[in-house]
């Protein structure tokens, strides 16, 4: 389908590097973890997870995100999606653990809110570079136990989400969800592997997307040829065993880019 036109009705400065753009259009059918292709007309179209039914939360990293940051309330975007597979939603009686790093909190916040709404017992480990960059503390707080870490120790525990994870008994959780920089997720993966918890963990991945709909192959991962846009972006940890995950990804031309 053609991109759907949405109006930005609110822009929230979440942290120095991230902003939430709220639309006049809700994607109520979306499952937490699904993404949309966001068209900044005349510039580029980029994948963004839905941080809410009618919002995306964007970190400024380059060209397109910079242009996004220049938009004002009342401006318009084109949206295709939601696409891909979201997280497997937890059952009422399950205990879950969320591990979010940086803007990786974006897909996990709506998951936390959903889980909380049905009474799921949850623990969240939320990390960021520094105190100012901790994203969605306000959204995770009411949902359950929350551990905060900052790389520079500017708030709460100094260190990485993996440090908190090391102190956590993952056996106590039925499901684990994680999203963040791939190096972080790779560490998480390594730790969970040792505890035999990879099979109950879902990872939300990023790759370079072109079509976003599973045809062009730009986002395929070695060695199974999994398409992140279509078979993911959320993968069960077992699907990532023996994959390129954490080692490299492909650039726009298909060239390998090491992490």
């Amino acid at each position: 389908m053609y991109p759907i036109d949405v109006k930005i009705i609110e822009i929230i400065k979440e942290t120095p590097s991230t902003r939430t753009f709220v639309f006049d259009r809700s994607f109520n059918e979306a499952v937490a973890g699904q993404f949309v292709m966001v068209w900044i007309r005349g510039v580029d179209e980029i994948p963004m997870t839905l941080s809410g039914k009618n919002s995306i939360t964007v970190q400024k990293v380059g060209d397109a995100t910079e242009k996004l940051f220049m938009l004002k309330e009342g401006d318009h975007l084109g949206i295709r999606g939601p696409f891909g597979n979201g997280f497997t939603l937890p059952g009422r009686d399950e205990k879950i653990l969320l591990i979010a790093g940086g803007v990786g909190a974006a897909p996990l916040a709506p998951l936390a809110e959903y889980a909380s709404s049905i009474g799921v017992c949850m623990t969240t480990i939320l990390g960021a570079r520094n105190a100012d960059e901790l994203l969605f503390v306000d959204r995770f707080t009411p949902c359950g136990e929350l551990h905060l870490t900052t790389d520079d120790g500017s708030a709460h525990r100094c260190g990485f989400v993996t440090d908190v994870l090391a102190d956590t008994d993952t056996a106590a959780y039925d499901r684990i969800y994680t999203c963040g920089p791939e190096v972080m997720m790779k560490c998480v993966f390594g730790m969970l592997e040792k505890e035999n918890s990879v099979g109950k963990t879902e990872f939300s991945l990023h790759r370079y997307f072109k079509c976003g709909i599973g045809v062009c192959g730009a986002c395929c991962m070695d060695r199974k040829g999994l398409r992140v846009c279509r078979d993911g972006p959320v993968f069960n940890g077992l699907e990532l065993v023996d994959s390129e995950f954490g080692n490299y990804m492909r650039g726009p031309g298909g060239n390998k880019e090491l992490f």
Binding site: C216, C220, G225, G254
Partner: protein, 300 residues
């Protein structure tokens, strides 16, 4: 067993160029899903990032795309091709492009180490300036590029044709004169879409190529016309989603079919098409699949 330009295919479905064809692993995956052969993404002389997004949109009745031939170039792709060759267990055809004869030859030679089963010359991409169809609508260019690649490599050469010409047969004949072992048709049909909310053309490249359902009738006519005039095999591509589509394409004159956009429906498409063809042949008292190739020409 189907044999095309000396290559044995377990079934007549082939992954089309540019679809899940940028990495060895994805080509292997498609082969494992049941494709009789796979064609790589078109590979060129230099790394290319392709056009800005949006690069593909779903129209419901087809797709518009303008990827812009993104590819890592042949030195980087060699290893991917080798993976595909070693692990897929089906013939692997290297799609290549260039702006000149020399570039085509460089790319072909550069990939020979990985022993592709054939080359497919992309002289037909409608939305890459200086490449593709701007070459492929000129019969002399098509002929000389075909000659050059045939001379340079010892592998079958397929030439992929654009429908965006007044008469595709003239281009097909040029390829045949140049020594092509087969022609492949069609590449996408020039098209565009505009966002009425803003007035912007939707594709990053402003325009692109139409594929999927919408182009099947166009592809059938091209294949039909090519079959009537050429002596070399024709490989049909454009809007093949089901075994019925594949049979239709073969009756028009295709010895095998390529499947591109239909991958959107799921990778089962290859096994479902090939098993459907098999049943159709058995249930209709044809001896083998070759019996139906071009029979529409005899029905008058």
């Amino acid at each position: 067993m189907n044999k095309i330009t000396g290559i044995e295919l377990d079934n007549p479905t082939i992954l089309a160029a540019g679809i899940m064809g940028t990495t060895g692993a994805s080509l292997v995956r498609v082969a494992k899903e049941g494709a009789g052969a796979v064609v790589t993404k078109s590979i060129g002389p230099e790394p290319k990032e392709g056009h800005k997004n949006p690069s593909m949109i779903d129209l419901g009745y087809g797709f518009l795309n303008a990827m812009g031939l993104p590819n890592p170039s042949y030195p980087d792709f060699k290893d991917e091709l080798a993976i595909a060759k070693n692990e897929s267990n089906v013939p692997v055809i290297a799609s290549i492009f260039g702006g000149t004869e020399d570039e085509f030859v460089d790319v072909a030679i550069g990939l020979m180490d990985s022993e592709p089963d054939a080359f497919e010359l992309n002289v037909s991409c409608p939305h890459a300036k200086g490449y593709g169809a701007s070459v492929g609508s000129n019969p002399d260019a098509v002929e000389s590029i075909t000659v050059a690649v045939k001379d340079a490599v010892d592998a079958p050469v397929w030439v992929k044709l654009t429908p965006n010409v007044t008469d595709i047969v003239i281009i097909g004949e040029a390829a045949q004169r140049g020594g092509a072992d087969a022609v492949v048709g069609i590449n996408t049909v020039k098209g565009m879409a505009i966002d009425i909310n803003s007035g912007y053309p939707i594709l990053g490249n402003r325009f692109g190529g139409l594929s999927g359902h919408a182009v099947k009738p166009v592809a059938l006519k091209c294949v039909y016309d090519l079959y009537a005039s050429l002596d070399i095999p024709i490989i049909g591509v454009g809007g093949v989603y089901t075994w019925q589509d594949a049979i239709e394409m073969m009756m028009a004159g295709a010895s095998a079919v390529q499947v591109g956009s239909a991958v959107y429906e799921g990778l089962e498409v290859f096994s479902s098409i090939s098993s459907g063809i098999k049943s159709f042949i058995n249930e209709n008292d044809y001896k083998y699949v070759g019996d139906i190739v071009g029979i529409a020409h005899e029905r008058i």
